[in-house]
């Protein structure tokens, strides 16, 4: 739908051919385009502003390289900076020295928590762990059943106590894991709005009671500007250990990834790439950077040069 950054910058830099040095004026023009591209990708406005200021500084006064066009050069700087901000590849779950390792998934309604719980269980059981899935969503119709169906598909046990208090459920689940020799507990929680204090308190209580080793925020890749407030509130309340971006198999630019990463400072650990239970991949910052900029072609563009 939207023009990629490459195309935008090419238009601007047509006039720049043959110049020796990228001037402040050139960069200002280019940065306007970068800003637009990022906003259209749903990167939060404030994050964009900071980012652009930072990149601008790096770009001014650089020599125009023989090998790259000015557009490509700016793109490279933008891309490198973006990749760095998005963090490294860290598809790792903190494993507790004393089992069981407890993981809790939190997030807005419909983000993909329950599905991701199933995916994580599958991934980690392949790595030799013995997960227990915990049905901690007592509100959504058939939420427990949904997790049970996934458990059945995976042949992984699901702990549930019906509509019992979620704090109690989490606590009993950990006891159950201890007594049945499960070394990994994955707690699914109900979707909630970050502004719903009562439900946010519920999560804080679960955390206080079972002390999870990983609290992961599940974020829909299609999320808009609001991603910043969501991630910030969850992080303030719970102290997140990581983020999982879902629905990256769609065509959203996924600028929310940059926003949540920036505002929480926690790593994006995994990318949800489909509805099936094997569709969970390590998060790749460089690919994400390309995607946010709307340039699947950026690498080839630079390689060609």
């Amino acid at each position: 739908m939207f023009k990629g950054l490459g195309e935008r910058l090419d238009d601007i830099f047509k006039s720049l051919k043959g110049k020796g040095r990228i001037t402040e004026d050139d960069v200002s023009q280019a940065m306007r385009e970068v800003k637009m591209a990022l906003l259209e990708a749903d990167v939060n406005f404030k994050v964009v502003k900071e980012f652009v200021a930072q990149v601008k500084e790096r770009a001014i006064g650089q020599d125009v390289l023989e090998s790259l066009s000015p557009a490509q050069q700016v793109i490279k700087i933008v891309k490198d900076e973006l990749t760095e901000l998005l963090g490294g590849t860290q598809a790792k779950i903190n494993i507790a020295s004393k089992p069981p390792t407890i993981i809790m998934l939190v997030g807005l309604q419909g983000a993909g928590k329950t599905t991701t719980a199933g995916k994580l269980a599958k991934l980690l059981s392949k790595q030799g762990r013995r997960p227990l899935l915990v049905a901690g969503d007592i509100y959504r119709p058939a939420a427990i059943k949904q997790l049970q169906v996934l458990g059945e598909q995976l042949n992984i046990p699901v702990f549930s106590m019906g509509q019992e208090n979620p704090v109690k459920i989490a606590q009993s689940a950990v006891e159950n894991a201890n007594s049945t020799g499960r070394d990994l507990v994955i707690i699914d929680t109900a979707g909630r709005l970050h502004v719903n204090e009562e439900l946010m308190d519920e999560l804080a209580n679960i955390k206080g009671t079972v002390k999870p080793h990983e609290i992961l925020l599940v974020v829909d890749a299609m999320t808009g500007q609001e991603a910043v407030n969501v991630a910030d509130t969850f992080n303030q309340k719970l102290g997140l250990d990581g983020i999982i971006m879902t629905k990256l198999d769609g065509d959203a630019r996924g600028g929310a990834a940059l926003s949540v990463r920036k505002v929480t400072g926690t790593p994006i650990k995994f990318a949800g790439m489909g509805e099936k239970l094997d569709a969970l991949e390590p998060f790749h910052p460089d690919r994400m950077a390309d995607r946010i900029l709307g340039m699947g072609d950026v690498l080839t563009l630079i390689e060609k040069a």
Partner: protein
């Protein structure tokens, strides 16, 4: 609390973040300058209105200011609201009802936006109006999607037509239409599995269901309702475009407006695409659905009117 009061309450968070920011742009300034317009544009972009629609809206405000020769920034507030109202339109677009019955409504959208929940709420509303409602469990893919709809059917007290998980959604729609006719239902709501619009095989499947519905009953589906999550950013435009191309979307329902998301992308959709927003979702309960009335919506956002019911 009346209808409007509840709407207003549920939009409190949205109001606090969006309107107050807009007001801040207009207050405590001497004159109207470029900075002001830029700030206004920024607030709009932060509400997910999108760059191009925000620019359009600001341009209209700019023209309004010129035409009326306005000097004080404080007066911009009214102009802005007028222009927003203009862009959003005034009319409410009700769900189309087939007077000969049954009215067939297909509900579509990407994963997790609130399709099934919206169906539950709609069923509740129509039932309260004395209509005979039926549901079709057309999501045969997602784990426990059928159970979820079944719980809604029980909660509301309406019939549901369902097949096994993994079965053909077209066959479910087929059965449901025939059941709706023979049981003389007024409304049939067809749930479908969430699907990302860039997956062509899934869009083909949806097209197939649509085709079966159209074949089994001339004039059906009477509505194809696309559900959008208010938290969604610019991707919503792509969703509207591609779903419309595939199954001829006739209306939009915007869910999860009870958060702080401003649903600003609706402004972009209404401005740039000719598909009306018909319903809004403001919570997870069965009473949390409202017809979308642009004027009420803007009023509730601004906290302007008191409960009038």
């Amino acid at each position: 609390m009346g209808f409007f009061g509840r709407l207003k309450e549920s939009l409190t968070k949205t109001r606090e973040t969006f309107v107050e920011k807009i007001d801040q742009v207009f207050t405590g300034r001497k004159g109207i300058d470029e900075d002001l317009y830029e700030e206004l544009e920024e607030v709009l972009i932060q509400a997910d209105v999108g760059v191009s629609t925000a620019m359009k809206l600001v341009e209209r405000v700019r023209k309004g200011v010129k035409a009326r020769n306005v000097q004080e920034a404080a007066r911009l507030k009214d102009i802005f609201q007028e222009e927003l109202e203009y862009l959003m339109g005034e009319k409410t677009s009700p769900i189309k009802i087939n007077p000969e019955g049954p009215t067939i409504i297909m509900v579509v959208g990407v994963n997790g936006v609130g399709k099934t929940t919206t169906i539950g709420k709609m069923a509740h509303n129509y039932k309260a109006q004395g209509k005979k409602v039926m549901l079709a469990a057309g999501d045969t893919f997602r784990a426990a999607a059928i159970d979820q709809l079944e719980i809604w059917a029980e909660r509301v007290g309406v019939d549901i037509i369902k097949h096994q998980e993994g079965s053909d959604p077209g066959a479910v729609a087929y059965d449901a239409i025939h059941a709706a006719r023979s049981r003389k239902a007024d409304i049939l709501l067809i749930d479908t599995a969430g699907r990302l619009h860039n997956k062509s095989h899934l869009m083909d499947e949806l097209r197939k269901v649509h085709k079966i519905v159209a074949r089994e009953m001339p004039g059906a589906p009477h509505e194809v309702l696309l559900i959008l999550d208010a938290t969604t950013g610019q991707n919503a435009l792509s969703q509207v475009k591609i779903f419309s191309e595939a199954v001829h979307v006739t209306g939009i329902a915007l869910t999860k407006l009870d958060g702080t998301a401003k649903g600003g992308v609706v402004t972009a959709i209404v401005t740039e695409m000719a598909i009306p927003v018909k319903l809004i979702g403001i919570g997870e309960g069965m009473d949390d659905l409202r017809p979308f009335n642009p004027k009420d919506f803007i009023d509730a956002l601004y906290g302007r009117r008191n409960d009038d019911e």
